[in-house]
Amino acid sequence: MDQLFDFSPVFDHHEKILEGFEATVRLAVVSAVLSLILGTILVAMRVSPTPVLRATGTFYVNVMRNTPLTLVLLLSSLCVSDTLGILVSDDPRTNYYWFGVFGLSAYTSTFVCEALRSGINTVPLGQAEAARSIGLTFTQSLRMIILPQAFRTVIAPLGSVLIAMIKNTTVVIVASYAEAAAFMKEMFDDYGASIPIFLGFALGFMVLTLPTGFFFGWLAKRMAVAR
């Protein structure tokens, strides 16, 4: 029975676990930044006064949000990079890293967009009307009245999106870039599948997701708009 909880593979090869999580963090950080940028562009499109941009934004969001991430990442790596022959780097690991980031951001940005959009929608109409009536211009009311309020209400939803994205980095395994989940599988192959190895990786993900959650929860509470 002791064999079941033999943690020695975890301790002896902890550098492998760390290596896996290093890749995960690299994916998560860059994808988070890119998703925020893309998501902001998307939300700008979706609330813009131009019907063409609104329609395009809505179409993109509906398509991406309803496609499994596995397929999005396969499309990004196998179809766009491999079949169309578009390479961003000669080094395969760097190349697939970027296509993993692209796929993950293309998918996550739609959730960022929706979180931001519902944030804008929570700002009461009267706020904008009041801003206009005291003579603020469009940019002024956006910058000083609407966005500060919208931003505060989206902290918690954005935190959820970010945490979901951290967990979703595991799906990049299908895009030929090895991160924590791929390292876990490799350790299963090399040292035999075992519960301790699983627990080692589960702990790693909890270290990433739980503090992020607490931080955003704390921030959301601190910044809450009294309404």
Binding site: D82, Y177, A182
Partner: protein
């Protein structure tokens, strides 16, 4: 109160399941020695065979629901010799990473899926055959004139297909490897994925068994070439649950017959004619059933 209700519901479910279980035959998994696959095939006229589903010319699931390829034809021949008609064969997908667990747990009776006999696998699997000796070779894009022999693979980008050890023959020395030259590896879930990556230039070469490569080269004519510098012998065996010697002997008999009655030659030509591959048509030296 609520908890008590949930507990009661859980108990009811458990009871219901327990009752259905009473009817089931728990003898099947009892402690008796397992019946050999050959015996079972003869008695029930049924057999479960693991093959590849996505390897052209070896094991491929067709849109019409049938299976084709050299491995599947060999499997059909062996099944026939074991007394199972084609209608009694159930095909299952055997991927490189699930072959051993499937055999150990009896989810498949035989594995005929480009399964090389290696020292590392011998403790886990009993191998009949080999039914063919393939060689590891290298495939490159047709316009590539840098890689002409296996040693040219130094520092090149190679495919690391999940569950396959072919890349190790290049990057490592004995016992697992062979050439021991450094190269960059790229993960892929299967060799068909490797081939897509080779086409784009994400890979410089795909190195694995020549039969697999010939299948792909033949499927996408004019895109790839095999460099024809074989550097290992890959003994394609029929995987059988560890210790089932009776079945192993029966399969070996079938393989011998397959070569002596000319079926092997017909099958090899059917699937690999025109690929430029040198086909061996004499029965390979068996490794013996252990």
């Amino acid at each position: 109160m609520r908890v008590r209700q949930i507990a009661a519901a859980a108990a009811a479910v458990a009871l219901a399941l327990g009752l259905t279980a009473c009817g089931s035959d728990s003898e099947v998994t009892g402690g008796d020695a397992p019946k050999s696959v050959a015996q079972k095939a003869k008695d029930t006229k049924k057999i479960v065979i693991g093959i590849k589903f996505d390897q052209p010319a070896l094991g491929l699931k067709k849109p019409d629901g049938t299976y084709e390829g050299f491995d599947t034809d060999v499997a059909r021949y062996i099944a026939k010799e074991l007394g199972v008609p084609e209608s009694g064969i159930e095909w299952k997908e055997a991927r490189s990473e699930n072959r051993e667990p499937f055999l150990q747990a009896g989810q498949v009776d035989l594995v005929v899926a480009t399964y090389s006999i290696t020292e590392a696998r011998k403790p886990k699997v009993t191998f009949a055959g080999p039914y063919y000796v393939a060689h590891q070779d290298t495939m490159v894009r047709v316009d590539d004139d840098v890689i002409k022999k296996a040693t040219d693979l130094k520092d090149k980008k190679l495919c690391k297909a999940a569950g396959s050890n072919s890349y190790k023959r290049v990057t490592e020395g004995p016992p697992d490897g062979k050439l021991n030259i450094p190269a960059k590896t790229v993960d892929a879930s299967s060799y068909s994925e490797c081939v897509a990556k080779l086409k784009s230039g994400a890979l410089d070469a795909v190195t694995t068994d020549d039969l697999i490569l010939a299948g792909f080269a033949n499927q996408q004519k004019g895109a790839f070439k095999v460099i024809n510098d074989p550097f290992t012998d890959e003994l394609y065996g029929v995987g059988i649950k560890k210790g089932d010697k009776e079945t192993c002997e029966a399969v070996n008999k079938a393989v011998t017959k397959m070569y002596s009655d000319g079926t092997a030659k017909t099958l090899l030509e059917k699937h690999f004619a025109g690929t430029g591959l040198k086909l061996a048509t004499t029965v390979p030296q068996f490794v013996g059933c252990t």
